[in-house]
Amino acid sequence: MLRNFVTGKFSVVSDVDTKTTANTDEAQQVLGLDQVSEKNVALHCHPQNLINWVVELDGIASSVLLVPFDACEAFSKRVEEKLELDVVLTDGMTNTEHWTTKVSGFRVDSGSQEAISSPGKRKTQWLLTTSGTTGTPKVVAHTIESLTRTTAKSGAGSQLTWGLLYDPARFAGFQVVLQAMMANAKLIVPSPDLDFEKKIDFLVASGCDALSATPSLWRKILMARAARQLHLKQVTLGGEIADQRVLNSLAKQYSSAAIAHIFASTEAGVGFSVKDKKAGFPVSWLDSGVRDVEMRISDQDTLCLKNTHLNQKYLGGGGSLASEDGWIDTGDLVEVDGDRVLFKGRLNGAINIGGNKVVPEDVEARILEVPGVFQVAVRAKSSSIAGALVEALVVPDPELDNPSGLVKSVKQHCKQVLPSFKVPAFVRIVDELPVGSAGKIKR
């Protein structure tokens, strides 16, 4: 149970005081811990409260859904279809008007303490969502054990002050939160609505010396004025392929920092980290494994992992994630290059935009809705800044009078129906799509 790990040394610092429930509607009910015991709750609040409430609810609530700060109507609707929620807990700092489930305030110190006299008997299910806030969220159930498998539980790292630039309701952010909890470290949480430069200013002012981000976010951090004033001892990269150039830039800017890039997948809940400041991982790990993860490369050149403690599953359809023999195919293409195994993208052609997954077929289906579009292929265009960008090749209907106007109408339609990271950065009008020898469209 989390509260067993968390001591007074763990603290969450933000630029606003979110401890009070002052923003809660006066007419709204405020629940205490005893009233959420064995309930299925959703947390939709400021990250600072979300993190503090997570500690209180572990071992008390039956399940806890972590709701991204900016979740919109479509998100609420989808998860309410999939899950039977009892209550949404809020601090009044997020927009909760889209929920049809009862919305309540929450105070740890209100209500009777009886219900929590024997905490820890229950194993709370932690529900995290994948995909964008406006797409169809996939809910994955975790336990604290499965989420902290690769986290050191010793006092190591307790001297560090971690900054949080991700939403703690997302897998990557929750990992940082748990890491700080396990190490009883201080966690600096800038409000999500602050300007980016101000977030970095706040991290500098708060003495942040450990940060975790995607390679794309790291490039953005390095662009910030205050980045040069960060005195980092720990630099962690995850969520995207870390190329050698971004590792070099970080090693130069933060020369005294330990640098680790993490491979982890929400679905598989398996991860390992590479600490030698080189892209990919040592080829010797295919024989030896690393920690309690075994590795192999499949016939399709994808990385497969095997872990002994797998206990997560999909909710609302979908079975166990591992095959019967315990191996999980990550779907990540790899290539052996000398003494390294390098990541090459996704087998299914999914594009990684700053840590967000884009499935080309989803975007293609939306573009085909635009009048005048005859054929379309969506593919990744590599980017030195964002890892990849989405490019759409569009073949106009031969009957169309003014094909050049299509670029604008395709972009406009995509903006209306897709989250921003899925909207093609480039739309090119072409006479025909590139087709491979097998007749399949080349991406």
């Binding site: 150039r245 070099n248 830039s249 800044i385």
Partner: protein, 88 residues
């Protein structure tokens, strides 16, 4: 070839227009890129777009890429890696 600086400014303005981004009214060398109105995706599009129009991407050419804070720094990076400037 046009002045690198002009090409960059034109590209920023076009990308802002195509992506409904509101640029800060006065773009000059001291403008902070992250506050210019281009978001990080817009910045990535800008670099890809410039690779098309200028024919090179300095962030691929550097072994230890330096990421610019201001528009002036951004332009300086492009000037430094521009094949034309090197000949001049």
């Amino acid at each position: 070839m046009n002045d690198v600086r002009e090409v960059i400014i034109e590209s920023i303005q076009r990308i802002a227009e195509e992506n409904d981004l509101e640029l800060s009214p006065s773009l000059n060398d001291d403008s902070v890129l992250l506050e210019s109105g281009l978001d990080s995706l817009g910045f990535a599009i800008l670099v890809a777009d410039l690779e098309g129009s200028l024919g090179f991407d300095p962030f691929v050419m550097m072994d230890e890429p330096v990421y610019p804070n201001t528009l002036g720094e951004f332009v300086a990076i492009y000037k430094k890696f521009s094949p034309n400037e090197a000949q001049a």
